[in-house]
């Protein structure tokens, strides 16, 4: 069944994507992959996922709409199609999600021509894995209070400080780095860099999360060196450039095909199935009207997010360009969290069985997934910060400071 609203070129590309994904779907890795790209720590998973991303890039499923000079495929309005097909094909996620989802839009918006030509192609092919160095132990939701220092010496910068919650830091070749060149100017004292990770001044140390996984790290910058040609934007414009990165992280950026895990609707369908398959107190959980109402309420919100995405592109109906896109990260993460809470409720005591227990339903996927939903509601600006942003930027309410 193809979509009636597509142009002939788009329809042809959609058919191509489907056939290609069907034919090239990789055999599963011998050990199960983590639920999302930001949890990957096993080097053999990295190799497997890097090869997969490179293959998809070559086929045109990544950077579909970008110009050829930046390593793109020069198509028009095809990325959304490719991403949808990738998401529904049951194939592995793309490992280089920070590169695709944050570095690419930031470079496209604020990078020099030389930076775009040098850095974009190896991001698409996953030859260079990227990480993000924004948060610090003392700078979380109040990101602009960051303290890592940048001192210019000749044509390079000397960086000192530490970064935290650095997903993929253990594999990354480059970091999107914010550092402070002026201690006396909170917002205007920040500069944005592309920092090479493979150097003696940088040490990466894993952090174990509540799930027991260690997909993210603390990164110590001890006289790390970054060339001035790796600065993005002017000295002191780092905060503005960082906003471009964060807007992409929160779902409002230009899509180049970052697909990090299962689609919300796929997880939703699994939960409905779980309720139909799970029997308790003499009936299917699905036949308990209280549980069914809770499940269908989240189903309703998941569908709404889907159509919000479509409405965001309809000028007459969207209520302003940023109103819906800025809600994406907040609602997506909160809906996912409720959905996982419901899955645990459906399972009842079975939800106590965790990864590695032979009786654990879906190998502990639900309690693991539930705990990981806090990644969504806390990182990249917590839900509370998102509500401030929406209230201030979209509704024009006074800044809470």
């Amino acid at each position: 069944m193809s979509d009636k609203t597509l142009t002939p070129e788009q329809a042809e590309f959609q058919d191509f994507c489907r056939a290609w994904l069907q034919e090239n779907k990789p055999a599963p890795h011998p050990t199960p992959l983590p639920q999302a790209a930001y949890e990957v720590t096993d080097p053999s998973h990295l190799t497997y996922l890097t090869e997969w991303q490179a293959k998809c890039y070559e086929a045109g499923l990544i950077a579909s709409d970008l110009p050829k000079q930046y390593g793109g495929h020069g198509m028009t309005d095809c990325q959304q199609i490719a991403s949808n097909e990738v998401r529904s094909a049951g194939v592995p996620y793309f490992i280089n999600w920070i590169g695709l989802g944050m570095a690419v839009p930031t470079l496209l918006e604020c990078g020099t021509e030389a930076q775009k030509e040098t850095f974009l192609p190896p991001i698409f092919s996953a030859e260079h894995i990227w990480c993000q160095g924004f948060s610090e132990p003392g700078a979380g939701s109040d990101l602009a209070s960051l303290q890592a220092s940048a001192v210019k010496e000749g044509d390079q910068w000397i960086i000192n400080g530490s970064k935290v919650w650095t997903s993929l830091g253990h594999f990354a070749q480059y970091m999107l780095l914010l550092a402070r060149q002026d201690k006396n100017d909170k917002y205007g004292g920040i500069t944005y860099f592309l920092a090479p990770m493979d150097q003696p001044g940088i040490t990466v140390k894993p952090i174990h999360k509540m799930t027991g996984e260690s997909g993210f790290n603390e990164v110590f910058l001890d006289n790390a060196i970054v060339g001035d040609h790796l600065r993005v934007g002017n000295v002191g414009d780092g905060w503005k450039v960082a906003m471009a990165t964060l807007t992409s992280e929160r779902g409002a950026g230009v899509g180049v095909g970052a697909v990090v895990g299962e689609s919300p609707m796929a997880v939703m369908q699994q939960v409905i199935q779980l309720a139909k398959d799970t029997r308790r107190n003499g009936q299917r959980v699905w036949d308990d009207p209280v549980w069914r109402d809770r499940i269908v309420k989240v189903y309703e919100r998941t569908e709404a997010s889907l159509y919000n995405g479509r409405r965001a592109r309809v000028k007459a109906l969207n209520g302003g360009a940023m109103r819906i896109p800025l809600q994406g990260k907040l609602t997506g993460s909160e809906i996912s969290q409720s959905l996982h809470q419901i899955a645990l409720g459906i399972l009842g005591l079975k939800s106590s069985l965790y990864v590695g227990d032979e009786h654990a339903p879906a190998n502990g996927k639900w309690p693991l997934g539930y705990m990981n939903t806090y990644t969504g509601t806390i990182s990249g600006g917590s839900s509370e910060i998102q509500r401030n942003i929406l209230g201030e930027r979209v509704l024009g309410l006074a800044k809470s400071k």
Binding site: D293, I295, Y307, V314, L395
Partner: protein, 375 residues
Amino acid sequence: MTTPKDFGFDDDINMLKDTYAKFLLEQKTTESLRPSLKGTEDPYHGSPRPAYFDTQNWQKTVELGMHAVAIPEAQGGIGMGLVAATALAEEIGRYALPTPLSNNLLAAFILRQAPTDSAKQLLEDMASGLCAALALYGEDGSLEADSTDVQFSDGKLLGSAWYVTDAQKCDVLIVAAQCQDGIDLFRVNRADPTVELSPDRIVDLTRDQARVAFHATDAEPLTEQGQGSRCLNLALPALLTLTAADIAGAAEWQLQATADYAKVRHQFDHPLGFFQAVKHPIVDMMIATDETRSLVYQAAAAFDFDPDDAARCAHLAKSSASDTAEFCANRSTQLHGGIGFTWEADVQIYHKRQMHSQFMFGDGVWQRAKLAELL
């Protein structure tokens, strides 16, 4: 997804929506309503509230052709679909407008499902400006098709219909009644001496409502052989979507009014919106409203372009809308503080309209029970 990317909101429909919105803005709808409320405030000692019907507003609505939007061209209408009707319903909600147009739109979608000449004749009469209201509910207000308490036998209607919205603004009633073969729909003149109208005292200030008793009333069948329930079931997605659109429009008003108030009202040296305890729930109103709006547009598009999916999408839209109605009404009053609790503030007008709309054609819980059957 086989509905259009713009949900079918093409240039014609956007222009229609803008024209109607501009007209309603000039009408100062809540200000015009106010004089009719004078002396009726006190529920214990006040006089019963007369049904408010701005006939000039209605005349202009007819002059603009809005009344005929959903009536087929063959019956003298404009022949547009549910997307266009939804655009109008959303504006009606945004301006909390008391208008027979709401029920005329609903009626048009019911009558379009009936193949009879009498249904076509009624559509034609509506295209000339006749107002119709719906008498579908029994006392329990349940929407199950067999819940009507009205009986049809020997060519006459007997019994009562409950919760008839806009009963005092209409010329004819579309009545669901039990017949030998099931449920059929009938056309009744509201002015018929055997039709006894008892106005309800209701919370909602923007609509009127009545119980209508039929004492052996002459009635013209609009459907035959028990096809009335089929007709209602086919029209139900449209009824749900239009009601949800009204809620979405009103919720957007509640959101904007509350945000505006949080900018001008100062406490503790700051505008209210500075405080996150106020700011965050206003954002939650926006999130609820946007979810409802997107589901409403999708439901309208599904009805016009992907009918197989229309029922599911409509239940989704009204499920979301009913909860949004409750939530936005609740927050709008709470966040306005003392003034929001007064008769003087317009938030109360919208709050009460939402309290009414929330339960029309089934609340959120009912929609979700219906949805679950489809999943």
